[in-house]
């Protein structure tokens, strides 16, 4: 009996612990303190005075950049923290913002997530420090991404105009020409898979970032934001252009089901079973470091189009922002200005294989003309910098895009899993996004 009683007590204890876990994570909420205005002079003064900063980033160049900064400004001590990659970091940042303390001074945020943190009023308007004068230094699409509701909430670091990365060895082996339109791409997919059933044109198990960028390229603009008035609609012509092409690949089982960024995915890229990737221009660095075995196999071509007119979209990429919790926002802004506009910092960034957002580098003949050994001597930046000029304008992400992407698998992913019409999955995604938005106080139309 005593055993049974202890067990009952433990049961209660465990039940309560479940509740405890939730209680602990929902720390008390306080609004971020509004910081006072500043000016460009403040930044130089802050650098002079020095101080301590915390910087969250998962970029491979962060460590070397921080070292270079501290050498140039010995008064400033920057503590670099890798708080996890994308959503992992956003969760921590979100919790710190909600708790009212614990956030870093400067934080890396991808473009798609910036509106969400801007909406929470967690980011400093860098226009207050005159950083809006740097506009000319950045490509138009990245500058558009860091401006939310008339506020400059970050400075762009990298960019990811999409291009088609393809395994030339595999393409040559099966006599497949590099596709320039999506119809040719579907055709190539069929021929490749028919010739060798273990090979696929690409892998896609449903990725929100990829899907939204493909819709962006096709001319769809599913998200429209005007303050708290939001429209979500996947019924436009652009979206249907993309699903028209991609449905053929999904329904005919022409896509590898290996999830992106898994170990198996990297193996597939190395052994040729995943023969191409429509992906952001930051991919060369990833291929070189993680798919070293395939050196010489890969090449880059412009992203296929629907009608032959060169157009592409941004895929991934991001910048850094100053968090309002920062006790020294002027110093944080000064560090950020150096990080994303000082040539010394950008050189470090380029060396680590990053693809820039700064026009000076995108137009630098040395950068553009660089012959990549990994890509068999191809001048890949000629293709990629051209892509950055061909990015279609007018795209916006939802002010709750991080959440939206998290439920992509629940909705559109089901179409992928069932090899069924993507439009059905998108309609499901849409209805959940509308419901969530309305629950959260937005006015969401379809």
């Amino acid at each position: 009996m005593t055993i049974a009683r202890t067990a009952a007590r433990r049961t209660l204890a465990v039940a309560a612990t479940a509740a405890l876990a939730v209680g602990a994570l929902a720390a008390c909420s306080t609004g971020a303190d509004a910081t006072g205005g500043g000016s460009p002079d403040d930044l130089d003064a802050a650098l002079e005075a020095g101080g301590e900063l915390t910087y969250w980033s998962w970029t491979p160049s962060a460590e070397a950049q921080v070292a270079a900064f501290e050498e140039a400004y010995p008064n400033v001590d920057v503590e670099l923290v890798n708080a996890g990659t994308n959503t992992e970091e956003y969760t921590k940042l979100q919790n710190a913002i909600k708790a009212g303390s614990g956030a870093p001074d400067v934080v890396q945020i991808e473009y798609y997530a910036m509106p969400q943190f801007a909406l929470a009023d967690a980011l400093v308007d860098l226009g207050e420090y005159g950083l809006d004068e740097l506009e000319d230094q950045y490509s138009a699409s990245t500058w558009g991404s860091v401006n939310v509701d008339g506020k400059l909430v970050g400075l762009p670091q990298d960019s990811g105009p999409m291009a088609l990365f393809y395994n030339k060895t595999v393409f040559d082996q099966y006599g497949i020409a590099v596709p320039t339109t999506w119809d040719e791409y579907v055709d190539a997919a069929r021929r490749l898979h028919a010739a060798d059933p273990t090979k696929y044109i690409t892998s896609d198990t449903g990725d929100a970032g990829f899907a939204t960028s493909m819709i962006w390229q096709a001319g769809g603009r599913p998200f429209e934001i005007d303050g708290t008035d939001v429209t979500v609609s996947f019924q436009d012509e652009g979206t249907e252009k993309w699903t028209g092409v991609w449905n053929q690949l999904v329904e005919e089982d022409l896509l590898s089901t290996t999830p992106g960024w898994s170990d198996e995915w990297f193996k597939g890229l190395a052994d040729g079973s995943i023969a191409s990737l429509p992906i952001g221009a930051w991919m060369p660095g990833v291929l070189e470091s993680s798919v070293a075995d395939a050196a010489g196999d890969w090449r880059v071509a412009p992203l296929p189009t629907y009608d032959g007119t060169a157009v592409t979209a941004e895929h991934g990429g991001g910048g850094q922002s100053v968090v309002k919790q920062s006790e020294n926002p002027a110093l944080a802004a000064a560090f950020l200005r150096w990080l994303n506009s000082d040539p010394a910092s950008i050189d470090v960034f380029l060396e680590s294989g990053g693809f820039p957002s700064t026009t000076a580098d995108l137009e630098d003949p040395e950068f553009v003309g660089l012959e990549s050994e990994y890509f068999g001597g191809q001048k890949i930046n000629e293709v990629l910098t051209q892509a950055s000029k061909d990015v279609a304008s007018g795209w916006s992400y939802l002010p709750y895009q991080v959440y939206a992407n998290s439920i992509f698998g629940d909705t559109v992913g089901q179409s992928y899993a069932n090899k069924a019409d993507l439009n059905e999955g998108l309609a499901d995604w849409q209805s959940q996004l509308v419901e969530y938005g309305n629950e959260q106080g937005f006015t969401v139309g379809e």
């Binding site: 479940a18 939730v22 999830p259 439920i407």
Partner: protein
């Protein structure tokens, strides 16, 4: 607290008013002993529960701030198809995986206790070892085994020449997870059973032998009845474990993102509601409802178990 502290004065001359004063003082002393526990108990146990209940009565929006909504979150939850889908999944898991796991654990414990097994100490350790592997590591390892492109599953499929083993397919994923959980916890439950078996007085066995009972009769007549309490405990732990299923599906999600949804189990749902959706209030509601359901079911199991014991 019935312990009386030594009070010599009271023993010598016990006038009534004084005695009550002494008793009062000793009660305060008792409280002083309990206080450290009580403070921690209130702080880490009662306060978070109370705070969760408090949270569940509000709704904070990204736009528009925080508002008291009464029981609206609970009403919404009872009509939430995603929550009930996850709940039904863990109930199904519970009904199939737990009997298999406890059955295996029971057989293992009886075998090791039977004294007919060579190197029983070796088997005891080997069966228990998976429990010592951190759950995250175990799931990652199984993920590699299950991989149907490059994993062991792929090798077996290659050898058989067809796609027979597909651990990440929609119809098999729950079986795959059940297999991992069984592998992890058979040893733990076996140890609970085994230690209960070791407490059986040996004279019972001697008496049984004198009465001419065979080994199977000893198992059904002595060992199983003696194990009843341990089985009830193991069942309750397993019910709690099933309702809290989180680690295994959450880690496998990276390998089967479309099959394992964000609301695959109630715990995953609560986690994703708060960490991706910032719906802390609704997440607290999920946790409270799951906590109450778990407590009620565990209590019913315990009542049934103890009733049998009395009979």
């Amino acid at each position: 607290m019935t312990t009386t502290s030594p009070a010599p004065a009271a023993v010598i001359a016990p006038p009534p008013p004084r005695r009550t004063r002494v008793r009062a003082r000793s009660e305060w002393k008792g409280l002083a002993f309990v206080a450290p526990f009580l403070v921690v108990f209130l702080l880490v146990f009662i306060a978070p529960v109370a705070y969760s209940v408090h949270l569940s009565l509000f709704r904070e929006q990204l736009v528009g701030g925080n508002a008291f909504v009464g029981l609206a979150n609970f009403v919404e939850l009872f009509g939430d198809a995603q929550f009930w889908e996850g709940f039904a999944r863990v109930v199904l898991f519970l009904l199939i995986q737990v009997p298999i796991m406890l059955g295996l654990a029971l057989v293992a414990a009886l075998a090791i206790d039977s004294a007919r097994l060579h190197a029983s100490g070796f088997f005891r350790i080997v069966i228990f070892l998976p429990y010592a592997v951190p759950a995250v590591v175990a799931v990652l390892m199984w993920g590699f085994i299950y991989g149907d492109d490059f994993g062991l599953a792929a090798n077996v499929n290659d050898w058989l020449g067809s796609e027979v083993i597909t651990p990440f397919a929609r119809n098999w994923i729950l079986v795959s997870i059940g297999n991992i959980v069984t592998w992890e916890f058979v040893g733990y439950n076996m140890l609970i059973f085994y230690s209960a078996l070791r407490t059986i007085p040996t004279d019972l066995y001697e008496a049984a032998e004198l009465d001419g009972a065979g080994p199977m009769r000893v198992v059904t007549g002595i060992k199983l009845p003696a194990l009843r309490g341990a089985i009830v405990i193991a069942t309750i732990f397993s019910i709690i474990g099933s309702f809290q299923l989180f680690n295994e599906p959450n880690i496998l999600r990276t390998l089967a993102p479309n099959i394992i949804t964000t609301f695959f189990t109630p715990n995953m749902y609560a986690y994703n509601l708060s960490f991706s959706g910032q719906q802390y209030n609704y997440s607290a509601t999920v946790a409270i409802v799951m906590g109450v359901i778990t407590a009620v079911i565990a209590y019913v199991v315990q009542l049934r178990g103890s009733r049998k014991e009395e009979r």
